[in-house]
């Protein structure tokens, strides 16, 4: 899994571009997608509360791995959405979900020695091929994603917003 900041920058870049076509998608909504990006990283709860400890407590096998999968993102996004006022649900859920999917997608790009990513499409038990672009702690990932985000930010701020007839907020 790439560092979280890099993944967030990818989500920001994606949502900023989408915003060029969707008027209401301002910063407050984009933030929700950024928050959704964090969901796959919730597997790091393991650092605080070991899955083994949970297993011993409840007496059944258990893993946090689904949090970093399609099924887990769908469920956690729904739980997150419930925290919002009902009138926002139709926007919140797709945005949080989108952020979670970006997190999964970026994670699926990293290197696996056997050439296939993990079961991040669970409940579909299939390990999709990975292009193997980076390892999780590669600092170059942050450099690239930061450059991408900065470029899109500049276009958004100085080209899109200042163009005649722009409806961006």
């Amino acid at each position: 899994m790439a560092d979280l900041l890099s993944t967030i920058l990818v989500t920001y870049s994606l949502l900023t571009v989408i915003r060029w076509w969707i008027d209401w998608l301002d910063e407050r909504w984009i933030v929700l997608a950024l928050a959704g990006t964090v969901i796959p990283d919730l597997t790091r709860i393991d650092l605080l509360l070991d899955a083994r400890t949970v297993e011993q407590a409840v007496g059944v096998p258990f893993t946090y791995a689904p949090l970093g999968s399609l099924g887990g993102v769908v469920l956690v996004s729904a739980i997150v959405t419930l925290a919002f006022a009902r009138r926002h649900w139709r926007r919140v859920y797709p945005l949080v979900l989108t952020g979670g999917f970006v997190g999964l997608f970026v994670d699926g790009l990293r290197i696996f020695a056997d050439g296939r990513a993990g079961f991040y499409l669970y409940p579909v038990w299939w390990r999709p091929p990975t292009p193997g672009l980076f390892v999780s702690a590669d600092p170059r990932v942050l450099v690239v994603t930061a450059a991408l985000a900065a470029g899109i930010f500049a276009v958004d701020r100085f080209v899109i917003e200042e163009s005649p007839g722009s409806s961006s907020p």
Binding site: E27, R28, F62, T63, P66, F84, R86, H88, I111, D114
Partner: protein
Amino acid sequence: MVGVQGPRSEPKAILCTVFERPGLRVREVPVIREHEDRVLGRFDLGNWIAVLVELDDRPLRSQPLEGRLEAHAVEFDPGSGFGRHVPDSVLPSLQRGADQGSDRSFVRVEISHCRAVDADGDVVEDEMDPGVLADAVAFEQRGVDRAGEEVQPPGLAGESVQRDLGRRGGLVTDDDELAHICFYRQADFPVSIRNQKERAERASGMDLWVRLGVGALLAVSLFGVGVHYEAVEDDHDPYPDEEQLREAYEEYVGERALLFGTVESIGDSQFVMTVQSDAGSFEMTVPENDIAVDPGGVVQVYGILDPDRTVDPVRIVVVTESGDADLYKYGVSAVGALVVALLFVRHWRLDTDAWTLEVRGDG
């Protein structure tokens, strides 16, 4: 007491007396708080729902209701002022109330047409007209002593005094008890901030429990997914997992495996790595020393399992060159989480009335 036509959510929600005369929007009517139930019990309100029953004793405390009634007792026509919807028992009740002094008083009913209601019946807050508030507040601030001047001269019983604020799109403040009522007309809906808030609180109370219930259901589902994943993963994983290798390595000799390990030592022709499993860690030897990694670094080894806990590598990937790389990854990730948290708090807030997250600056 003013009724409006609209969906009625409770059988005895609020007392209302119905007036329906074309063009007549505003009335001044007596309201007696403690007799609401009695009157309600004798009325079939049908689809009519009370917008508001508001009592404002303050402007009229110096004007005993008794005096007003006496002045017109001869011409008093019971019930006519209510479109003959008021039973006779109301009048004695009214009289008793008047006899008890200034605690019973007329209510001045200010009516302004309200709009700015969306399809759900919620107020479109952007359309609040501060001008209405200014008028209403000014009215109240004229004080007790001058309240009598504001009351329309007592006319015949049943005569209604029209006071139209002359404004549209008016919401009223919570503490403005004189201008809370408006008629429902087509897209219009009776609105006051107080009424809306009360309805919202009732709805949000139920909504909270629904959300908690669904949330609990989803949380249980999520836990179930965690159990399911762990229970069946081995059936789908093409490789033996770490726990299996720790407990019964020899059974898997000759199979392929994908291992993640922390490099412990690097020798002349091999390196040793520690592999973590749920059942504890174990060491694996990899006959390869041409790797750019220091002890403490993390590697992936994909290869064939040989005897004596040795894996013949097909491919080795260095994940982190040293233990410091993990610090970098977690540090940068923490920065990312912090940025998101700050941005989130900047744009969203917790509404403790409904226990929901709301956009900042959106009411």
